[in-house]
Symmetry: C2
Subunit: 241 residues, 2 copies
């Protein structure tokens, strides 16, 4: 039986229980980087390059990339978009090349380098993601982006939802306590998800910064059923590759 | 209002939100180090020295200390006790000097060095601990020991129980998502605690190693109402100091 494990923040990936590199890392940053990435891929972008060092974005801009950049919740001055799913839903970005740098999500994408395959998850693509994971049938490590090295409720709820889906019929076995905890939290949240997360730290932060308008879109299940994959530094649509 | 924060593993203490050193760290390792320490202090030991490096224990033994030592759940050869609350409940250790080294708990005690005060918590002293924390009325960081850098359910449930107690009447304000999550988990667990944790990783490990006999004692609330404090490398009874 394949196993599934949850790292509650990216820093814990290095201490994961899943041995070797024969595993799939699923990176999640519900508010908002991985939601943004899923929506951009669904809109038919050519490719997305995640960039940890914001200073390198100007080079991408010169080379014709559209820039998605955010720090501490707010759009960077020079960026075309500010890590807002809503901006990308309404933009004409078909075939565009995008470079993205965010507070937490792009860092999480950079730490999972031991994985055999890196998939990108969010509530907006959860069923498509789970279906792909079932087909691949490898061990899974879900990596929550959190907020500045700290635990985030919304990423953990997503991990719990994936674990519930995949362990339900025993194709996958949870192999640590964070799987138990995330599923227990998801069980409490799932019937009123948006309300459940409304007291969480980053939900509150985004609304207080005046950029909360895209938050509800981040909790709509299966609205963009594509699975992005990160390969050789580039994010593509997994079904096209 | 004072704040309360939860670090789900010791490695996250360095990234805590609580600023400065004007805070109390509460270290918890329910299975079993902090339960063992609380019971030893309640039995009237003179002092306990937590020792991270197991190789240094022989020096303590030569100097007349009783040795509590465990790795991966099992008692070390040269030790007098094996991190088993049950052994200490039944031992005559009044006025003894003890040196203790365990897989996770003593490491957690060593990372909280930025704190103004370090208290030791477990279910067996939870009400006494909360009462002391209310009197001190400083910001609090609860540090869960976990298991080898990974999340543990039982430590998180304890953190949730303390947060519920202290935030209930608004003397303390929770200030991050791990407070929310740990309280939600505690809410589900508290009416049938031992059953709730029975699927957890370390509970299962202790029983499969044949050393589960002390586990139920670790979930008895308030059976040893003393509060150990770590000061200058030595654990003492806080009410005596």
């Amino acid at each position: 039986m394949s196993t599934i494990e949850v790292c509650l923040v990216p820093e814990l990936y290095q201490y994961r229980k899943t041995a070797g590199n024969n595993h799939i890392a699923v990176v999640v940053d519900i508010l908002r980087a991985t939601t943004t990435i899923v929506i951009a891929v669904a809109q038919g972008v050519q490719k997305i390059i995640p960039v940890t060092d914001m200073n390198k974005l100007s080079e991408f801009k010169k080379n014709g990339y559209l820039i998605v950049s955010e720090r501490d919740g707010l759009q960077s001055d020079f960026a075309d978009f500010g890590n807002s799913p809503l901006q990308l839903i309404n933009a004409n970005i078909k075939n565009a090349a995008i470079a993205i740098s965010t507070t937490n999500g792009t860092r999480a994408l950079s730490v999972v380098n031991a994985a055999d395959k890196i998939l990108i998850g969010a509530f907006v693509n959860i069923s498509a993601l789970c279906s792909t994971l079932r087909t691949l049938n490898q061990n899974i490590v879900i990596v929550c982006s959190g907020w500045k090295y700290r635990f985030s409720l919304e990423d953990t709820l997503f991990a719990g939802a994936v674990c519930e889906n995949l362990t339900g019929d025993n194709q996958f076995a949870g192999n640590d306590d964070s799987v138990i905890a995330s599923m227990e939290l998801w069980k409490q949240a799932k019937n009123d998800l948006l309300n459940y997360v409304s007291s969480s730290e980053h939900y509150q932060r985004l609304y207080s910064l005046g950029v909360g308008e895209s938050v509800p879109y981040c909790f709509e299940l299966d609205s963009y059923p594509v699975v992005p994959v990160l390969e050789g530094g580039t994010i593509l649509n997994y079904s096209h590759h």
